[in-house]
Amino acid sequence: MKKLSLLLALMLVLTALSPAAGALADTGYSYNYDFWGEVVNSPDPYAVKATLTHLELGLDKKLSKAQGLFVKDNLIYICDTGNNRIVVLEYKDGNYSVSRIIESFEGDVEVNTFNAPSDIFVNDEHIFIADTENNRIVKLTYDLQFLLEFTKPDDINFDQSITFLPSKFVVDGAERVFCVVSRVNKGIVKYENDGKFNGFVGATRVSYDLFDYIWKNWIATEAQADAMADFVPTEYDNIALDDEGFMYVVSTNFDPYQLSIGNFDPIRRLNSLGNDILIRNGNVYVIGDNDWTDIGVYTGASKLIDCTALEDGTYFALDRTRGRIFGYDDQGNLLCAFGGNGNKDGYFRMPTAIEHMGHDLLVLDSQDCQLTVFTPTEYGKKIFSAIYEYQQGRYDESAKEWKEVLMYNGNYELAYIGIGRALLRQNKYEEAMSYFKTKYDDNNYGDAFQLYRKQWVEDHIVLLFVVIVLVLVVPLIIGRIKRVRWEVKRFENDSKTIR
């Protein structure tokens, strides 16, 4: 009886401890792809730290159709689009509280309130706000004095017939503004720091195949041609800036087939010339989900509508189709995928923006009217520290971290490759090869194998020499012996016949 009660007490303690374990349980919430492109469930790399609605924050009304999000140090700027205001949150001692609310500004300008602000950017001196329905981007000081506005370009290159609706933008170090404007597909609108229009950057090269061209221009009727997709560059949906000053742009205007065969890049990293310099060395295409169905509740490919780049070169993209977040490292390997559509914490209904604060991820949901804060779990932290150690050049420490990642998730491909690389550096070629082989990494395996082969040949040079000599000499000797015997026999025969 006593034993039983002891057992019960033990079980009670274990149940009390289990939430920590439960957070890492296999829920199907987080996954990754294996080498063959099959979905493999993984432990959760991120867990919900907080969900912030107007109630938690003590705001007077719900966030309404919130579109834009920006993080500067410990301040979070939310564009409360439907309420025409900016809500600034402060993160301090593990709490999120409202720091201030920006509804209007002062200065020599006709309209000094906002109308549906959809994006915000803050640098060390100024605040930039995309005041969409007022057709402008305003530049303010920290104490809300109006400085400058960026309006519809008065330029021949800019189609004057469309309404100028700046939706998303970033500001570079020289305070030049790069803006994604609705219904403009020539690329990103670039302004000088004095507000002057300076052309477009990053327009995608238009590609179409010969068959489509012939069909559309010579065979199809006018009605058919109108129904077909135009051969125009894609429109961007969102833009973000990374630490090195490169722009990450995302686009959701794609042909699903082109996407599925890797001909369309929904995430691009643009340099100052507007060329895509994103590295895509991973097993999977950098397109979010790599396979999808067209039946069921949530159909079609991932629509990546926002992206945020962390300090260590990893970046996270937000998928509106299934409410998922996809994390990639700087080589284009899928680090993790998690999230979903729904009403629970960590699920979304209409996510609109993603930002990061350190390694925490913040996701704004316009329909749930809330901000969800994700923080890395122990497992997620191990992945990040392994990447960090590798970037610092401490390969052995990195391998140690990867080994701990494997404790959580034995299917994690990058961990095997990371350990293999460290072993390769320690000249343990054979072990490195087995790690690379486990995850079909032929490039690294090839390198390790070449070194291993070289070492093997050097170690066994005597043996090889002996074998080669045997192969060359033994048949010669045997042939010689046979010949001698045959001659002796012939001589004997000859002498017989003579006698």
Binding site: F35, W36, K437, Y440, D442, N443, Y445, G446, D447, F449, Q450, R453
Partner: protein, 226 residues
């Protein structure tokens, strides 16, 4: 009266039959380097044998599996959950059978000299370079690194091109055709193969439909009875 066991032993210890088999098999090595002479003598002078032809064919099928299984993973990555070695072998055997039958059916109409057996033997002999090159190539691949994959792919493709050329000369010699007529014959054989495959698919889908019909009829009756 010999017993069955005795006959069995005799069959497998027939020294003359083995000699014939090895001789005709060794003739394959002559054929692949002297295709015109070789294929002419193969059927017209009875230098080849059905046993050797089947041996080469089976060896080719096994080579196909051997290559997938034992080439280093750097060149061929096999998802063992998805690969069926039997299907891989059928991928060679079925086209081979359909080719031979279609070719024979066509050439009997266009005064080809070869019988079905001749076409079968010659076609099988034409496959000789495939196992001959691919087996050593597969073994050697395990001593190569990823950068050196060109060697592996080159030799594999080389064996297939060689085989293809041998197929053409086999058809030409077996039926005593001119080169132009051979080309025409091959084009029509390929078209014929497409038709045969279409008919087979049609046949199987109709059969499976009618089986499903009778099966549902049977189930209906069983339901009514009980």
């Amino acid at each position: 009266m010999k017993t069955t066991a005795r006959r069995f032993v005799d069959f497998f210890t027939n020294r003359a039959a083995y000699d014939r088999f090895f001789k005709s098999l060794r003739y394959a090595l002559y054929v692949i380097v002297h295709p015109f002479d070789g294929f002419w003598d193969l059927t017209h002078e009875k230098r080849g044998s059905l046993a050797a032809a089947n041996f080469i064919l089976i060896l080719s099928l096994l080579t196909c599996v051997f290559r997938i299984e034992f080439t280093t993973f750097q060149f061929i990555k096999v998802n063992y959950e998805r690969v069926n070695f039997f299907m891989e072998m059928m991928g060679i055997l079925l086209p081979f059978i359909i080719f031979v039958v279609t070719n024979w059916a066509l050439t009997t109409l266009f005064d080809g000299k070869g019988t079905l057996k001749d076409v079968w033997i010659a076609s099988a002999y034409a496959m000789t370079p495939y196992p001959l090159i691919v087996i050593p190539n597969t073994i050697l691949s395990n001593f190569l690194a990823e950068e050196e994959d060109t060697f592996n792919y080159f030799f594999h493709d080389f064996s297939i091109v060689w085989s293809a050329l041998l197929f053409i000369s086999a058809i030409m010699m077996v039926h005593a055709y001119s080169i132009g007529k051979t080309m025409l014959c091959i084009v029509f054989t390929i078209l014929g193969m497409a038709i045969v495959i279409f008919l087979l698919l049609l046949f199987f889908s109709l059969i499976s439909d009618s089986v499903a019909y009778f099966y549902s009829l049977y189930r209906e009756i069983i339901f009514r009875i009980y």
